[in-house]
Amino acid sequence: MARKSGIIGGIIGFVLALIAEIPIYQNFIISLKIYSYNSTGFYIWGIVLSNDEGFGLLSLNFPENLIALTFWVILIFISLSSIFASPKKSIPNNSLKLYNLNILFTAILLIIYGIQIIITNLSNIGAIFFNIGIGYYLIALILVLNMIAKSKLKKGE
């Protein structure tokens, strides 16, 4: 049987990489931002200003655009590889390598965004929990799901 946790992790990654908001019911909308600062929402794919004007990762100046593009490509890689590593027919050795890479990359993303969140809230550390977005928790969830998939793979061996 396919490792569902890996596939779910991959789908969440794609959602984070492409989507800004998911409406659930009327005014209840899930925003997938990583964090917000001065009413600007920071997403994996770009930023949204307080006046609802959005900028993609390529509209930033050099080299920020390359850095943002790298993060985006890393997330796409994580999503693809966790989906590709999860089917039953996949080669266990290769899947293990991909899960390890995914865990490493997700941890790097979490650390980098974590540092950004701390730096933007240095004056009031307590505000971190107000400014942190669901996107950050979803990246952490991808990490956990990949760890679960890896442990299932090891148990299967």
């Binding site: 492409l18 989507i19 800004a20 908001e21 998911i22 409406p23 997403y43 794919w45 770009g46 949204v48 959005g54 900028f55 993609g56 990762l57 390529l58 509209s59 693809l80 590709f84 089917p87 027919k89």
Partner: protein, 180 residues
């Protein structure tokens, strides 16, 4: 499953049928698809509106944006079949064949899969070579500007680099095929 062939097929599919990749999608009520869904199905709150895009144009010269499926000039779309038949054959038809062969190659891990992999690599190679050599030759007909053989490199855009990635994936899928 040959994953590299699958990815190569997906990238060609993106380049052939899309103008851009939407980023920051909102499932809101302002988009064209939303209005269409509302008009024909009475559904509110569906797809889609987006904040930003990653353009898939192969190159842009002046007011012309060149894609794998055609060009956009001052906001008007023209397919290759309307503009230039040779380019239509090399860019559009070969891309279509490349997508089909890539998906067959991704599913079949036998001799047929290997053959399809070879076809996919050959098609993408020809598309790549035609873009670098053929487009400068016919640039006067297509966009009304004569491009030198190296002049084209000034105008390349993201789509071209995605095609390059596509070519690399096709080569890797050829090398990594189980029949080899």
């Amino acid at each position: 499953m040959n994953k590299f062939a699958f990815l190569s097929g997906m990238l060609t599919l993106l380049l052939l049928f899309f103008q851009f990749i939407p980023l920051g999608i909102i499932f809101g009520s302002n988009g064209a698809i939303s209005n269409w869904m509302l008009t024909y199905f009475g559904l509110t709150n569906p797809f889609m509106y987006y904040y930003s895009t990653i353009s898939l144009e192969m190159m842009s010269v002046g007011d012309f944006q060149v894609f794998l499926w055609g060009i956009i000039n001052n906001g008007t779309l023209y397919t290759w079949s309307e503009i230039h038949f040779v380019t239509f054959l090399f860019l559009f038809c070969l891309s279509l064949l490349s997508i089909i062969t890539a998906f067959i190659a991704s599913g079949k891990e036998n001799k047929l899969g290997r053959r399809m992999n070879n076809f996919n690599l050959a098609f993408i190679g020809v598309i790549f070579a035609y873009f670098l050599i053929g487009i400068p030759i016919y640039s006067n007909f297509i966009i009304g500007i004569e491009l030198g053989y190296f002049g084209i490199f000034y105008y390349l855009n993201f789509g071209f680099y995605i095609l390059l990635l596509d070519l690399i994936l096709a080569i890797i899928s050829r090398i990594k095929h189980p029949m080899n």
